[in-house]
């Protein structure tokens, strides 16, 4: 195994992770809700009165991120995302993520952050499952083709 030292960012990734943990903890402690993007979107797709407004407020905050980041983060801190996938691949991937996350009742936030933090066995199995196929998929993409 060989480490990509050029792209490796343990410090900012750990700090970013801590922010994710704070947001997830405070949303649960304050509002009693699990911070799972899949679950939040699900509730927007099938809206119920009394249940929709916190979801919209949270998503608007999420969408405001790039604008606020421009103000508060030092210039050049955020580099442009590297998107290698072709258009067809992006569509296929989006469909699989959409179906898969609802089928598996969660994604990297709900299972990966909140679930593991709650020491949920279900979320541990989910996280190992999507990481497992993630590893295999990138291996096939980058090393077999």
């Amino acid at each position: 195994m060989q480490i990509d030292w050029f792209h490796f960012t343990p410090g900012s990734s750990f700090i970013g992770g801590i922010l994710l943990g704070i947001a997830a903890s405070v949303l649960f402690l304050n509002s009693g809700r699990i911070l799972g993007i899949t679950g939040i979107l699900e509730g927007v797709l099938a809206p119920k009165a009394q249940d929709i407004s916190w979801r919209i407020a949270f998503l608007l905050g999420l969408f405001a991120t790039p604008w606020v980041a421009k103000w508060v983060l030092p210039e050049g801190f955020i580099h442009a995302p590297r998107i290698e996938a072709s258009w067809g691949m992006v569509i296929l991937a989006g469909l699989m993520v959409g179906v898969g996350t609802r089928w598996g009742a969660g994604c990297t936030s709900g299972h990966g952050i909140c679930g593991l933090s709650r020491l949920s066995v279900r979320s541990l199995i989910a996280t190992l499952s999507f990481m497992g196929t993630g590893f295999v998929t990138v291996f096939v993409l980058r090393h077999l083709f």
Binding site: Q2, I3, G21, A24, G94, T133
Partner: protein, 138 residues
């Protein structure tokens, strides 16, 4: 007031995704590429998130209500079942193919990256399609 708190938490979560590097598919795929030049950064993201989360959810376990007065919506399912595993396996394939999971894709969409916009549309279509199939099953 609660809506303002939730807006700020969405923003904080988004900043976490941006700062950690999760909104860069190249970084995600770099983590998933064990056989190539491996970028272990994502393990630090998850580590940071879970270290804080264990504390936060640990405090919640000692309380009967959230600060807003609303009850805690603890996830009710505890059983490891086929949908959980099959769905997660499928999600992982999509995650590896494009390097996007739902949260970072939404932030990248808001940044105006065209492929992220298309990814999110496809993802929403997938979510709606799944809802249709599920309804037919019941």
């Amino acid at each position: 007031m609660q809506r303002v708190v939730e807006f700020l938490l969405g923003l904080l979560f988004g900043m976490g995704l941006l700062i950690s590097g999760m909104t860069d598919p190249g970084k995600v795929q770099g983590f998933l590429d064990l056989a190539g030049a491996w970028d272990p950064s994502l393990a630090f993201v998850m580590g940071g998130g879970v270290v804080v989360g264990v504390l936060g959810f640990g405090v919640a376990k000692t309380k009967s209500r959230s600060f807003s007065g609303n009850p805690f919506h603890w996830p009710e399912m505890t059983q490891v079942d086929r949908p959980l595993v099959l769905g997660s396996l499928m999600f992982g394939v999509g995650w590896g193919l494009a390097g996007f999971c739902p949260g970072p894709a939404l932030v990248a969409m808001a940044s105006g990256h065209d492929k992220a916009v298309v990814f999110v549309i496809a993802m929403m279509v997938g979510m709606v399609l799944f809802g249709r199939f599920k309804k037919r099953d019941n």
